[in-house]
């Protein structure tokens, strides 16, 4: 995360006599809308937040539109088309703080699995007239295109982390977003380790916390929504997985919603790549 202040100083200061409310934008690229929906899911705080900030662009929620400038711009989704690459550059230029939200924006998302494969083959397998489908050869995180000032991880982002971020924003302090492993949160929650007790493959030791360790708490292994934590030892975990699994299975375990992030990608590559796109078997849509 950046060491710069989270809200531009002086005229934006909450301590000023008549503080200007920060201008907030929420935009999306290739994604499911779930991370921006998390904002609307803050049912208890939403109206109070709306009084403290000026939501000037949020197409899913309001018909008022703005092309900028933004004090803080929340960006959902991966960059997957040429048009999106141009638009994120424009948005960067009119945003004081650009914050990526969710696995698509921070790591490429599940659609980044296609980055390992031939784009044209995938495109023509889904669309009968694929020449009319515009997309870049890869679906990539926003930070591959423009500078990013901060990020909220997760697929989807955590409501608690979003709440913490927004409180930090309106009070002018840095948000407290831990970088520890899911394992620590899992222990604090009092969950029996699913890897040790049940032998389930779990990405908890290498995945950043924030979700509340819900997968182990619900009886299954972590699948890495929040992406690798700092200094994640994925090689060690992959070696442990390999004790009783094929390389193909090990690669699959890392091929989730943050597969394109460095430490996970390394293990996918070391174990033969993600599950392949194959050839169509069912009847296709009409051309």
């Amino acid at each position: 995360m950046t060491s710069q202040p989270w809200v531009a100083p002086a005229r934006h200061s909450p301590r000023a006599a008549t503080p200007r409310r920060p201008r907030i934008g929420v935009v999306k690229f290739a994604s499911c809308d779930g991370c921006q929906l998390t904002l609307l899911d803050l049912e208890d705080e939403l109206l109070a937040i709306a009084e403290r900030v000026d939501v000037v662009e949020f197409a899913e929620a309001t018909s008022r539109r703005s092309a900028g400038p933004f004090d803080v711009l929340f960006v959902e989704g991966s960059i997957s088309t040429e048009e999106q690459a141009e638009e994120i550059a424009r948005l960067r230029a009119v945003s004081t703080r650009l914050i990526t939200i969710g696995a698509c924006a921070t790591a490429g998302g599940i659609q980044a699995i296609r980055n390992w494969f031939d784009h044209d083959a995938i495109r023509s397998a889904v669309y009968p007239q694929s020449e009319f489908v515009e997309s870049l050869a890869m679906a990539r995180p926003v930070a591959d295109f423009v500078a990013v000032d901060g990020e909220l991880r997760g697929c989807p982002i955590s409501p608690a982390q979003l709440r913490e971020f927004l409180i930090a924003l309106v009070t002018g302090r840095r948000p407290q977003l831990p970088d520890e492993a899911v394992c620590l949160e899992c222990k604090r929650r009092g969950v029996v380790c699913v890897a040790v007790a049940k032998g389930l493959p779990c990405l908890g030791p290498v995945t950043r916390t924030g979700c509340g360790a819900i997968c182990p708490a619900y009886g299954r292994g972590c699948y890495g929504c929040f992406g690798p934590r700092e200094a994640a030892n994925t090689a060690s975990l992959a070696a442990w997985f390999s004790d009783d699994r094929s390389a193909h299975e090990v690669a699959r375990l890392f091929s989730g919603f943050t597969a394109w992030s460095g430490p996970f990608r390394t293990q996918i590559d070391a174990h033969g790549g993600p599950p392949g796109p194959g050839e169509p078997k069912l009847e296709r849509p009409d051309a």
Binding site: F29, C35, R65, Q129, P275
Partner: protein
């Protein structure tokens, strides 16, 4: 990029662009081509980038697919998970414990409540009352918006309890769930749901009193129909013109394809006819299966006929379904007994798997081919909005001429309001393409 307006073309032609539809899920726009006052073409344009989900699931296990397809839509992940899990259980012949079935219906009720409350209060109601958003609506009608948010929260609470989190829940597994639920956990939902039922009933009164634009048409409607319950997880595919298919057999009647004047995939009957799915279709085809509380609420409105013929009345249909989902959720909570085990054990293997369920915004269909080892070899995923697109365009062709004489901002507003009536979910529509529109010439 964000401008709206009605630029006049040459020689009596008019091209209407509404660029950047708002208060819908995902990104889209509308282009109408008008000649001598008649709409020649109405095209919903979708700029949502393709994500190729049908290929992303290949080589995965059925349980991994349940996690992946949720990401097609952050608003209705449960619909994708339910359709996939039922398809796999149908294909592999896995029997399901009745209490697991009840929990799945409860989970689906949670998503219906969350999605419908979002649409009614945050996306659609501002249109009827003349506001740009629910946040602005709240300045004058705070109590109403707070009630809507509380209703939405009750739905999220169900999904959070059963699924671990409100968006992209983690517990749905082939054969059942990843864990069991104590009776006390489930009954913790009783109080919030009882409060939500009061709000849902008040919502019906609120939206039934809204004055919709005058618009009547007879659409061909398609929904699931179940012999003993309002359609959600199960039922046969039926239509207002006599269709009656197993939920596995969508492809025998329907197909997606590209139409001559655009390059968008749209689902239609194989003979080319469009059809409409969603709350209006469900109420038209299955109102007799509503929960008694919801049936009474519908009767009080006296609007069953208008819900069928005027798409602007879909907000009433959603409110009735909110009552139904909350009342059914309460019944499930009261009757719940923990199953003996979280999931039925099963063995991976080859099969073809297919199923249809009712997402909040309409019927959704999945088909999968599983290879010898039980991995996904291929997939077809047909979201509700892909099915509705042709019917929406047909409705716009009928409706638009009567508002084109209005000042451009009013005409734009009326048309956008109509599009919102179908609750289009563009993120869902995995294979919507950007349309190519011919010049009027």
């Amino acid at each position: 990029m964000h401008d709206t307006g009605l630029p006049t073309g040459t020689s009596g032609d008019l091209v209407v662009d509404i660029a950047g539809l708002t208060r819908v899920e995902g990104e889209g726009s509308l282009r109408l081509r008008v000649r001598n006052g008649a709409v020649e073409e109405a095209h919903l344009e979708i700029f949502e980038a393709p994500r190729y989900f049908e290929r992303l699931v290949v080589g995965r296990t059925p349980d991994e697919v349940i996690d992946i397809v949720a990401r097609i839509c952050g608003i209705c992940p449960v619909a994708y998970q339910m359709t996939a899990v039922h398809a796999f259980e149908q294909g592999l012949g896995i029997p399901i414990d009745p209490q697991v079935r009840a929990l799945r219906r409860l989970l689906y009720c949670g998503e219906w409540i969350e999605s419908h409350a979002l649409h009614v209060y945050l996306l659609h109601l501002p249109d009827f009352l003349g506001y740009a958003s629910a946040l602005e609506l709240a300045r004058d009608h705070r109590a109403a918006v707070e009630a809507g948010l509380n209703l939405k929260k009750a739905g999220n609470r169900i999904v959070e309890l059963i699924g671990g989190r409100a968006i992209h829940p983690v517990s749905v597994r082939v054969g059942g769930f990843s864990r069991t639920f104590l009776k006390t956990e489930i009954t913790s939902l009783r109080e919030p749901l009882a409060a939500a039922l009061e709000i849902a009933l008040a919502t019906v009164d609120l939206v039934a009193g809204l004055v919709p634009p005058d618009f009547q048409r007879e659409a061909r409607m398609v929904a699931l129909r179940h012999p003993t319950e309002y359609p959600m997880n199960e039922g046969r595919i039926v239509s207002t013109d006599g269709l009656d298919l197993a939920p596995t057999d969508w492809l025998s009647e329907f197909q997606e394809g590209q139409v001559a004047w655009s390059h968008a995939l749209q689902a239609r009957s194989r003979d080319g006819r469009p059809y409409l799915v969603g709350p209006g279709s469900r109420l038209t085809l299955a109102a007799d299966q509503l929960h008694p509380t919801a049936a009474a609420a519908l009767a009080r409105t006296g609007l069953a006929g208008e819900i069928r013929t005027n798409p602007y009345r879909s907000i009433v249909a959603r409110a009735i379904e909110l009552v139904d989902a909350v009342a059914e959720a309460l019944d499930i909570v009261e009757a719940y007994q923990p199953p003996d085990r979280a999931a039925t054990p099963w063995t991976p293997g080859p099969c073809t798997a297919a199923w249809a369920t009712e997402a909040p915004r309409g019927m959704i269909f999945h088909a999968y081919a599983l290879d010898e080892r039980g991995f996904i070899a291929d997939a077809r995923i047909v979201p509700p909005t892909s099915q509705n697109q042709a019917a929406i365009e047909a409705d716009l062709t009928i409706f638009a001429p009567q508002v084109l004489g209005l000042p451009s901002d009013q005409a734009t507003h009326r048309i956008e309001q109509l599009i919102r009536s179908y609750d289009p979910c563009i993120s869902c529509a995995t294979h919507f393409l950007q349309l190519h529109v011919e010049d009027v010439g």
